[in-house]
């Protein structure tokens, strides 16, 4: 991740020790390129997985919503308890208020905690906690809570809505795309004025959307809820058909997602955005951008949109070939692409882990040093001013292993999920052939993802 500089370079502000202050809001350290050996092993593993899968996998739909190992009753009761949820909501509310105070009253410098909260904790942290625990943002989303609180104050039904909602995930795709652009392209995206506009705009749109469409807005249109819900499908924690908590495979969560409006663009943004993030760290690319006569923002914006488009177009092309191979009409490709889009979520999850692991486990700790002093007055309210981030989790060999393994595991799960979906929705004789085009596309994504991690 490369975030652009705040206008005030803190190293140049008198009175601040430059050695203690990173001059950028977030992400001054990047990962070393993936070693060649890791690239080769991971690429070969992905290829072997793919074609072994075609020949040997199950022929009848196999994943059922009755599957899973029941959690012990006390654990399930704890997960369902109102008090656990209330505590989580309260902590999220405190962090939100704390961050808003820093956003309004804090310094416009790298000592302000807001960029870390937004770009590391909210974006990357939410991805990791959702993959571990499920759709947690639904529970702790402070804007959802604010909306519910306002309705309660006004003594009206929590389901109050002026208009029916009918756009599926499209607004979420748009929101995620915008956030990705803000994070990866926008200039001065760690400056305070920019962040005030960003956060203020987000609150305004969310409150307006939920006022008009009711709380359905959060279920479908909210970008962070979509980010958390889709990546949360990969969590080993889930509910089976009767609502009881079980431990299950990530495939069960993914398989439970039905095709819906806007799912394809949402997945395309998730996958394309992460890929662009890695790609834009490439030195030849930055050299090209900075020497090009075209404005660099324009060039980056166009490239980011191309990455989104490439993902969407390639999976749609794969589904066109699939439906033709199985002898179905061309028009069927538009529903089929939505049917198979969920199987790209594990690949997106693998990309996220590979690209953001070290940012999360290292820069995520660093955020505590900034949060302890939200107003930039030298205060140490949390006692974490002297925290030195533990670097045990970002040792190069460990990082390279995590990157290669997460990409390959994402690929494996993607292939399995696509297989299950293909034998479920396609005619049985055509199913094996029908999933080949999608597998080809998955192989391209996986090899592309590995190459991006490998190129310096």
């Amino acid at each position: 991740m490369a975030l652009t500089a705040p206008q005030l370079a803190p190293g140049l502000i008198p009175g601040l020790a430059p050695g203690l202050v990173p001059a950028h809001g977030v992400g001054s350290r990047g990962d070393l390129p993936l070693p060649f050996t890791a690239l080769v092993i991971a690429a070969v593993a992905a290829l072997v997985i793919s074609f072994v899968a075609i020949g040997t996998l199950w022929r009848e739909p196999r994943l059922r919503d009755t599957d899973g190992v029941l959690l012990p009753r006390p654990v399930a009761a704890l997960l369902d308890s109102r008090s656990l949820r209330a505590v989580a909501r309260a902590l999220a509310a405190v962090l939100t208020v704390w961050t808003l105070v820093a956003l309004v009253l804090g310094p416009d410098s790298a000592r302000n905690p807001v960029p870390h909260v937004v770009y590391v904790w909210l974006w990357v942290g939410l991805a990791f906690s959702s993959m571990l625990l499920g759709p947690v943002w639904r529970v702790i989303n402070p804007v959802r809570a604010l909306h519910a609180g306002l309705l309660r104050l006004a003594r009206v039904s929590p389901d109050l809505a002026a208009l029916p909602y009918r756009w599926g995930l499209w607004p979420a795709a748009l929101g995620l795309g915008t956030f990705t652009w803000v994070e990866l392209v926008a200039e001065n995206n760690t400056s305070l004025g920019f962040l005030q506009l960003l956060v203020g705009g987000f609150f305004a749109v969310s409150l307006l959307g939920s006022a008009v469409f009711g709380r359905t807005w959060f279920d479908h249109a909210d970008p962070f809820e979509a980010w958390s819900r889709l990546l949360g499908l990969l969590s080993p924690l889930g509910r089976r058909h009767d609502g009881r908590w079980v431990l299950r495979t990530p495939l069960h969560g993914v398989n439970g997602l039905r095709g819906q409006r806007g799912l394809v663009p949402t997945v395309a943004v998730m996958l394309g955005g992460t890929a662009y993030d890695g790609f834009s760290a490439n030195l030849s690319w930055s050299t090209f951008v900075q020497t090009s006569p075209v404005s660099s923002s324009l060039l980056k914006t166009a490239t980011l949109l191309t990455f989104f488009g490439l993902v969407a177009v390639t999976i749609w092309l794969a589904s066109v070939v699939s439906v033709r191979l199985s002898g179905e009409p061309f028009a069927r490709s538009f529903t089929f692409v939505s049917d198979i889009a969920p199987s790209l979520i594990p690949i997106a999850g693998g990309y996220v882990v590979a690209h953001y692991w070290s940012l999360w486990v290292y820069q995520g700790q660093y955020a505590w040093r900034l949060l302890t002093d939200p107003l930039g007055t030298g205060a140490d309210l949390l006692g974490t001013a002297g925290l030195v981030p533990n670097d045990a989790l970002i040792q190069p060999t460990l990082v390279a292993t995590i990157q290669a393994v997460s990409i390959v595991v994402g690929h494996l799960l993607g292939v399995l999920a696509a297989h299950e979906r293909a034998i479920t929705v396609l005619d049985r004789r055509a199913a094996v052939v029908g999933q080949v085009p999608l597998m080809v596309v998955m192989i391209l994504y996986t090899l592309g993802g590995l190459t991006i991690l490998f190129a310096p």
Binding site: P18, A23, S28, R29, P33, P35, L47, L283, T287
Partner: protein, 128 residues
């Protein structure tokens, strides 16, 4: 139907060719043959010139073993800010005046050295 049995194999071959092509066309990250780097003991030296938006030598990855030092001499044709990410080093650049940064690798990782006006990446330092 039978023809498609061969498809996965064809894909594998294609993919191997693609990855092979990618790996041979990108610079080998194991060596630091980056232009202009001179090593003396545990100190590496590199001079970089900035003319407008052109960086000479062209931006490349410079390998720096943990504990070694990179002496970076930067000369620009305009006033600017020079910033070594992760080393927390920032210096004002005066037009035409060489500025020297001494960067010592402490934490493994890849770090960008850049200017701010305009935003240019000069090189990345790969500490390992």
């Amino acid at each position: 139907m039978r023809a498609f049995r061969a498809l996965p194999y064809a894909v594998c071959v294609l993919a191997l060719v693609v990855t092979g092509g990618c790996s041979s066309s990108s610079p080998d990250p194991g060596s630091s043959g980056a232009g202009g780097v001179v090593s003396t003991g545990s100190v590496k030296r590199l001079a970089v010139t900035i003319t407008g938006t052109t960086v000479t030598p062209a931006p490349a990855q410079v390998d720096l073993p943990l504990g070694s030092t990179l002496e970076l001499v930067v000369t620009s044709d305009h006033d600017d800010e020079l910033h070594a990410h992760g080393f927390d080093v920032e210096e004002a650049l005066k037009s035409g005046v060489p500025t020297t940064l001494r960067l010592t690798g402490k934490e493994p990782g890849s770090y960008e050295v850049e200017t701010h006006e305009p935003a240019l990446t000069l090189l990345t330092v790969a500490v390992r």
